[in-house]
Every structure is written in structure tokens, then in C-alpha cells.
Assembly symmetry: C2
């Protein structure tokens, strides 16, 4: 196993982009049927008659898919210690079947925990962008990441 990313490997202001990922109609309908069965997430005609203007993914589906892309982009290679929660989520544009989405994540700031010097707090903004570069969702949260050298920090 290659060595994991630690707190020291994250730099404020750093911006990374992921490979694109296409969301399918089947994924949208399947998630909605289980977790958010509002008609505009299940049916074209209901979507057209809603404020979404067409079938679109549940906002919670977009959150979950974004986390999967965050996992693939860096969490899987990181000495993560979890996250206490989410600071903010903004659902900016409808996510349509067939849309090709790219993750952009930005390190906003970072600090070492005062009470637990082995734990770093890295605050990030994560966005999913459509093919034209417009953000469809934006999320801010703090990830807990292990410090490689607590003595040196």
C-alpha cells in the first residue's frame, strides 16, 4: 500500500479536479424511490411540472454521489479520521440524467486540534461542475485528518 496522505500533505488554497462521472436516469430514479420519492425525482412529466423543469436528481442523491467522487479523489488514499458534520450545502442547479459531472475541491484552511495534536482539521469546499463548468452543488465541511508528525506540528 502506498503511504497515505496526512494533514501535512494538504495545503490551503490547493484546488484539485476529478475525472468526470456521468449520472444516469436509472441511478436517479433508484435513489429517489428509496430515499426521496418526490414525483419530480421519479417521473419526467412530474419533473416538467415542478420548479425543477424536468426530471432531476434528489439533492441528497447529489450529496451522496459527490461524496463518492470525494472518496475516489482523495479520501481512499488519506489517513482520514472522519468528519463531525457539514457546514453548508447549496443545491444550485438541477442535476439531469446523462449529465457529466466533475468534482472540484478547494482547501480553504487547516489547523491542528489543540486538545488532540494527532488530529488535523482541514476545511474544504467541494463542488460538482456540469460540462460547461457551472456548479450544480456546493458544500463546505471540515475533514479530520491524521497528523504525520504531531511533535513537529
Amino acid at each position: 500500500m502506498p503511504s497515505l496522505l496526512h494533514y501535512e500533505d494538504f495545503t490551503s488554497g490547493d484546488v484539485r479536479a476529478s475525472e468526470p462521472r456521468t449520472i444516469t436516469r436509472e441511478e436517479i430514479v433508484s435513489f429517489a424511490a428509496e430515499f426521496d420519492p418526490q414525483p419530480m425525482h421519479l417521473d419526467e412529466a412530474a419533473g416538467r411540472n415542478s420548479m425543477l423543469g424536468g426530471l432531476a436528481a434528489s439533492g441528497w442523491h447529489t450529496c451522496a454521489l459527490m461524496f463518492r467522487m470525494i472518496f475516489d479523489e482523495f479520501v481512499k488514499d488519506t489517513a482520514s479520521m472522519g468528519a463531525p458534520g457539514i457546514e453548508e450545502v447549496r443545491w444550485l442547479r438541477p442535476v439531469r440524467p446523462g449529465m457529466k459531472l466533475t468534482l472540484r475541491r478547494t482547501v480553504l484552511d487547516k489547523r491542528v486540534s489543540k486538545s488532540r495534536p494527532e488530529m488535523g482539521l482541514v476545511r474544504m469546499r467541494s463542488e460538482l461542475l456540469d460540462e460547461t463548468g457551472k456548479a450544480v452543488i456546493e458544500q463546505t465541511n471540515t475533514v479530520l485528518i491524521r497528523v504525520r508528525n504531531p511533535e513537529a506540528a
Copy 2:
């Protein structure tokens, strides 16, 4: 169809509780495999060796399940116009297989949109409680709900 709940039917300070819902090991592992394949959400031993102290649901799974309970509790009977996002989520305690969860939602405050008098903004706190009444997740957000009588509001 019975008449839908509108903005006027929500009262600041109102607290409602749902029927309990049990989360299963199969649901936890299935969600994690698709959206959050961190080992502590997939495997007992990995969970024990993590900060969660045992197999526990992905925080995003808890969010999605809570929304399903919110849907069943009132959204399905409400003239909802969607939600712009989430103000805050706090993951407070691990969500274990077999846990019986109850939704508690509180109306924090409400107002009619200045620019769109047919749209109300109802700010709510939603929590899932375990069998002992302790919150495992807490979320605050604003739901857009249609005003029944925009002239009167």
C-alpha cells in the same frame, strides 16, 4: 386526495415526532458500497478499529434515511416547492445496525418571500433519536412551502 399542507399550516415552535424506523446491517453496507466505501461502514472489524468503535452507517446514509423519514412524516402531504440547500448537519453518534430511530422535527421560524409572495420559507431542525432519546444526527434547513392565500399573508 386530502388537501395539502401549506405555509399557513406550519407554526413556529411546533414539534412533531415520527413512527420509529429500524436501520439494518444490509442497508448500511449496501449504501456504503455505492456511495461511501470507507471500511468502517462495510466491515465489523474495520469499524472496531476506527473512531466509530464498530460498524456504523455512513453519515450521508443517515442524512438520506432522515430525509425519507421527513418525506413520510410531512413532505408527502405538503405543497412543497423544494429546498435551496442545508444550513448545517451534525453527526453526533454512530448509527449501528438494528438501531430504532425516531424523527423529531421542530419549526424554528417562518416568513413569506418578499419577491415571491406565493412562496413561504419554513426553517426547521430535524433530528434522529435513538431508543434512549439521544440524537444521532441533527440538521437545520429551510424548506420552501406554497402559501395558500398570498393576498392574506
